[in-house]
Symmetry: C2
């Protein structure tokens, strides 16, 4: 781990190097030398007689032993083919305005990331989004990429795949024995999976999100006037993906939003999501009633040009839904939801996000920014779970999904929140029914409200269950939820907890290769191969440390 200068105005260094004793490698599928798909390989003690285990890896180039980051230069392109893709035009992007960075100036202004790049948008002729390509029957390099990425850890398991799928319970999912590029194309075309991949984010290592693929997890980061520096924010992103975050949402507020986002995206191998209404609100001085279509539209274009891969859009909070929250215990807890509710109520008008939804689609389509349709009315307590407000919004999200699909946009749907165990499955079932099987992306849910300080656990329980039921991506919750801002340790704890939830879901669904890693661990346990156990685990460092606290001798580790 490299040193961090906590007060530095720009990123100096980030955590690099292999995880445990694993090796980060890349492989290309036959016929696609430009598609370099990452994975990790864990070698075992020779006494085991076992071949190395391949596992899915999200750590980006940072996980390589030999990689030296140059944050000012950004990452090399992982999608070099974009520059040659037809239907895209290079153009002079929007000029950065003082309000994009909250009017920060002088020594308070974080400089922009100097990494050079061209800005693209769709010309309008021919497909731009992965959904449009898929519908046109075209297999993109991104589809080839994610197919190979999903398969890397299951090649060895292929002969048992049918039996393992049969042994699982996937509640009607269609998990394939082997993922072909054509299967990916078909799932994307049907809207059952998305590949969030803005054409202005060439650094991206593509990820597929859908219930017939491995369950993914998201980590949230974000600066705060109180506690963060730019260096910390970029490091939080790198740190999140190191421990297993598949996507990262930048929820920054305050000054320097634009430039901090620049540094993050240029150095991000994972898809980056944002909530554009947060920045739009900053631009109007924090007064929700002053929001309008123009400032929001400007923000969408600003962030789309930067390369944000998915936007949370709270277009489902309609004027008529707001009164449904009146008798709730915890009202509206989603920040985006409460911004839009305030807007609607103050003007007694229908939400401009809802009314302008077609225009929003037109913008997002040109850059292939995916929708994450926000659940602004999600329950903030177990008492409010599955109520009329929540489900009214979900039905609107279903309606908007079809609009976005018609416009050629990729869509996933955000879900709760706080839900007791016996009411979780109804969320999944209703989402599948009303949103046409678009991928579900939930926050937890927290299965009880009584454990502040432990909400990674209260929510990890719900996340594992809803992941099993069919949720495609799980948004992490850290131990600081409801209490304060997560630090580095909290981020790691949240990510590891959610990797547990996602993997438990993969196992229960009958993913054909998921149990390979469990079995490798179990064999290492049975043989008392301690160092192998550490390396197979999600967090080799912590496992080794805990072991050494009470059994410190090396002799106890090597059988």
């Amino acid at each position: 781990m490299n040193a961090q200068d906590k007060h530095s105005p720009k990123p100096v260094s980030v955590t690099t190097g292999p995880i445990g004793r694993s090796r980060k490698l890349y492989a290309s599928p036959a016929g696609f030398p430009e598609v370099r798909v990452p994975y990790r390989e864990i070698a075992f003690e020779p006494s085991s007689g076992e071949p190395p285990l391949r596992i899915y890896d999200s750590s980006g180039p940072y996980g390589c032993a030999e990689f030296t980051p140059d944050l000012a230069a950004g990452l090399p392109a992982a999608r070099p083919w974009l520059a040659a893709r037809e239907g895209l035009e290079n153009y002079q992007g929007r000029t950065v305005k003082p309000e994009d960075n909250g009017f920060a100036s002088g020594e308070y202004l974080v400089p922009p990331c100097p990494a050079p790049r061209a800005i693209y948008r769709g010309t309008g002729a021919g497909p731009v989004t992965q959904l449009e390509f898929a519908r046109a029957g075209i297999v993109t390099q991104e589809m080839v990429y994610v197919a190979h990425r999903e398969n890397l850890c299951r090649e060895r398991a292929f002969e048992n795949a049918a039996a393992r799928i049969a042994d699982g319970e996937s509640f009607g999912a269609s998990i394939p024995q082997f993922v072909t590029s054509e299967f990916v194309r078909d799932e994307v075309a049907r809207g059952r999976a998305i590949i969030p991949a803005n054409i202005n984010h060439p650094e991206l290592e593509p990820v597929i999100i859908g219930r017939n693929f491995l369950v993914k997890i998201n980590a949230n980061i974000g600066n705060s006037a109180v506690t963060s520096s730019v260096a910390e924010e970029v490091e939080k992103m790198v740190w999140s993906i190191r421990w297993g975050a598949d996507t990262v949402m930048d929820l920054s507020t305050g000054r320097n939003i634009h430039n901090i986002r620049d540094w993050i995206i240029r150095n991000a191998s994972a898809p980056i999501g944002t909530v554009p209404i947060y920045q739009a609100l900053e631009k109007v001085g924090g007064d929700a009633t002053k929001l309008d279509w123009e400032v929001f539209k400007d923000t969408l274009i600003e962030q789309a040009e930067q390369g944000v891969d998915y936007f949370t859009i709270h277009a489902g909070v309609r004027l008529a839904h707001v009164p449904l929250t009146a008798n709730r215990v915890t009202g509206i807890v989603s920040r985006g939801g409460s911004i839009m509710a305030r807007w609607c109520l103050s003007r007694h008008r229908e939400s401009f996000l809802y009314e302008r939804f077609g225009d929003i689609c037109d913008i997002m389509r040109r850059y292939d920014v995916s929708f994450s349709l926000g659940d602004g009315l999600r329950p903030g307590s177990n008492a409010d779970a599955n109520d009329a407000a929540q489900f009214a919004e979900l039905e609107t999200l279903g309606e908007l999904t079809k609009v976005a699909w018609d416009k050629g946009c990729q869509v996933m749907i955000e879900g709760p929140g706080h839900v007791p165990m016996h009411k979780i499955k109804a969320n999944m079932d209703k989402q599948l029914a009303v949103c046409g099987e678009a991928p579900f992306y939930t926050l937890g849910p927290l299965v009880t409200d009584i454990a502040p300080g432990y909400d990674h656990i209260t929510s990890g329980i719900g996340a594992a269950m809803i992941g099993w039921f069919g949720t495609a991506m799980l948004c992490y919750v850290t131990p600081k939820e409801h209490l304060g801002l997560p630090d580095r340790d909290d981020v790691k704890t949240g990510v590891i907890t959610y990797r547990i939830a996602a993997h438990a879901a993969d196992l229960a669904k009958g993913h054909p290769a998921a149990i390979e890693r469990d079995n490798a661990m179990s064999r290492a346990r049975f043989d008392f191969r301690w160092t192998d156990q550490f390396d197979i685990g999600l967090d080799p460092d912590t496992a080794r440390k805990y072991h050494d606290e009470t059994m410190p001798k090396e002799a106890h580790k090597v059988a």
Copy 2:
């Protein structure tokens, strides 16, 4: 928190005092002044206008502000009525032998706890066990006690009870709106609940374990030659019940087992469980093949006289079951199970625990030691879950349950272990079917094997689910599982995680009062009453600390 001298040969001091700003109180049901039932009361900021919240409390006298422990004197009797109970005789107990303490002598011998007491056993005339009283239609003080204890937190919720039960999903449980003593008697008589309460443990605050009551949790403690002192072991017990353990198992091995257990039981307000075969094995020098009925019988009497409330007995590991484990990934992982398997295989004989089961019952009945029928063949990995060995043993446990019931003994059944989510419910369903609804008591289960260092979480997920499905008590797992011995922080983390799991299960089952605490938290959140949020939570200290790390000002806590 009082200071600990880590190297002291006997307990000096333990943690006392209130939890957060709550008050520990006692209440007596009408007509039973000698039955003093503990609970905690959390008062809120006056601005809230809310009455105090009553919650179930397991902390014993240690949780009282005014209590000063005298470990050498032991706790005062919480069951003074035992001394006058008919059918019990006071007698000269078994003489302590050198092997009871592993032949420790001189400065290595932990002195016995000097707390004075008489030793009792059933005379044989009339009922001794809670099961026998219940069948005879007699409501014991223990039944009155647990009924009041289960009700204390639901009195205020009574008017909503029917609706809340209807809103839950209890999978066929029969949760009452209000717990009467007669309901308790009936559940105990049917074998659906147990009150582990050795007549030689008058210090006990009775607890009921059954799926129609609040879900309970157990914490394991145990000394080790490597890292623990007596002081630490007693403190671990006190520490466990402080954070919410309903029962505590003493899994000590090595020297001084007898005397350490003495100190623990004399100072334990919670039911104490043990695995007598562990001590029997010590007595034969650690060689399982040397075990026999005589040494085991002697150990049962020794521990029954001390006041152990429940014994794990691995009588379900039959000779014919052992070959069923041959193709497992992780073989036999239960310590008791592997001891008995080795015994059976080495002699090629049926287990003496199985053959002598009636005799074991006769001994345990005389002291009302409850059975915890051990699952010696539980799976040690997801790969081995729900296999032929595990279920063959479970069927034997069902057969033994009926034998024990016929002998008048209370019984619960231990369960796994390591089980992927989609195979958990089958465990509960089969246990209910083959064990006549005797309470199920499971270890986790861990829903994946890949996260050493985080197995409180991998198992907390499974525990919440199986608790919802009907498991009556959840045995905790700490972050050190598979890696080393838990320290104080690990014990607390394990206990809090399992309180989350148990409470999540209560909520999902529709327990009529469970959501009261969640709602109190949610209202405090909505009002930004920070100190109330800390106090309502399971761990006020951690919540406050996390909050203060990023929002340190008192002004941020008091709205």
